[in-house]
């Protein structure tokens, strides 16, 4: 089976979220093919899970001070700092029928693309249910999935060399979460491609490794294509929702 592979894009948070939703909506209507894409955030941004409370998770003053955008996702899960210089983000959009019905199994298949992609870079990675990929017992990639209108959107991060200090300035970390793991420092829980490889690969190298990883994990051939006009138009329309205070402050 052939799925579409879009060119690497660099967009602001609101545009990226709008593109993901546009691809999901049009895929569910049969107007867009199953698609894999890779993208970066400009400026750097914090994305909030759709059930999270803005005030409780993000230091808005710090975000403002650092020129970091804040956006709410349509997917659940936690708040993430997306560093323009240090993270490659992926999205997979496909029909629900092309994945297992079981949610964790479907995460495992898509995250398998990350696992195999990291292995292509020379790392040993493993899936950690529900939605993480680890290297040497530390999180290197997190994903979030939604299923709507008969289609699935899963997007997630691959940490290449993010500014972890800034991450902690921006995110309010729950004491419950830290104490439960008996670990006081995020440096012991999170790792990066640069740290594990001992050198920093280019975004192009990481993308190429992940493309092969997704092809193997999804058993598809990824064929390079472009976004259609209908997708661009719908994304432009949806962008205003993601940029709105109403959506941001929903919880």
């Amino acid at each position: 089976m052939e799925w579409r592979l879009l060119p690497l894009r660099v967009d602001d948070a609101f545009t990226s979220m709008a593109i993901d939703e546009a691809l999901l909506r049009l895929n569910s209507e049969g107007k867009a093919p199953n698609t894999v894409r890779f993208w970066r955030w400009l400026p750097s941004a914090v994305s909030l899970g759709c059930f999270q409370s803005l005030e409780r998770e993000v230091d808005l003053e710090a975000a403002k001070r650092h020129g970091v955008d804040v956006v709410r996702r349509i997917t659940g899960g936690g708040a993430v700092f997306h560093d323009h210089h240090g993270e490659l983000t992926y999205s997979v959009v496909c029909r629900e029928g092309d994945l297992p019905r079981d949610i964790i199994e479907s995460y495992q298949i898509i995250c398998g693309g990350i696992v195999q992609g990291l292995e292509n870079l020379g790392l040993r990675a493993e899936f950690r249910p529900i939605n993480d990929v680890q290297v040497n017992g530390k999180k290197i990639s997190g994903s979030a999935q939604t299923r709507r209108w008969g289609s699935v959107l899963q997007h997630g991060t691959v940490l290449i060399s993010p500014d972890v200090r800034l991450m902690f300035e921006l995110l309010k970390v729950s004491p419950e979460k830290i104490s439960d793991k008996f670990i006081s420092s995020v440096f012991e829980r999170v790792t990066t491609v640069e740290r594990e490889l001992g050198k920093r690969p280019s975004f192009g190298q990481v993308r190429a490794a992940l493309v092969k990883g997704f092809e193997a994990a999804l058993s598809v051939e990824l064929v390079e294509g472009e976004m259609e006009k209908a997708e661009m138009d719908l994304a432009a329309e949806l962008r205003s929702k993601y940029a709105s205070q109403e959506w941001l402050r929903k919880r």
Binding site: F51, S53, G76, E176
Partner: protein, 92 residues
């Protein structure tokens, strides 16, 4: 307003609530980094809980009823985790 957090097997459930004089929930807001499918079900869960007594049996019955009527899925999170989170907030 009362508030508590509870670390479930997947995600931290954060609960804000107000209790009436008869110990029922008059306001409740759930947030956190969990997953719910479909996403709209969280609002349904909050509505289901209004007017329910803040004690184990009543909460458990309401949450179980929510799962049955909506068919919502919450990977690695079960009724007992919502109930524990709500009780913690009620006792706070």
């Amino acid at each position: 307003m009362k508030y508590a957090e509870f670390k479930a097997p997947k995600g931290v459930i954060k609960v804000e609530l107000t209790l009436s004089e008869d110990n029922t929930l008059s306001r409740i807001s759930l947030s956190g980094d969990f997953f719910i499918y479909p996403e709209e079900a969280l609002e349904h869960l909050e509505k289901t809980l209004l007017g329910v007594k803040a004690e184990v049996e009543s909460l458990m019955a309401a949450v179980k009823n929510f799962y049955q009527t909506t068919g919502a899925q919450t990977p690695l999170i079960g009724p007992e985790h919502w109930v524990e989170a709500i009780l913690r907030a009620a006792r706070s």
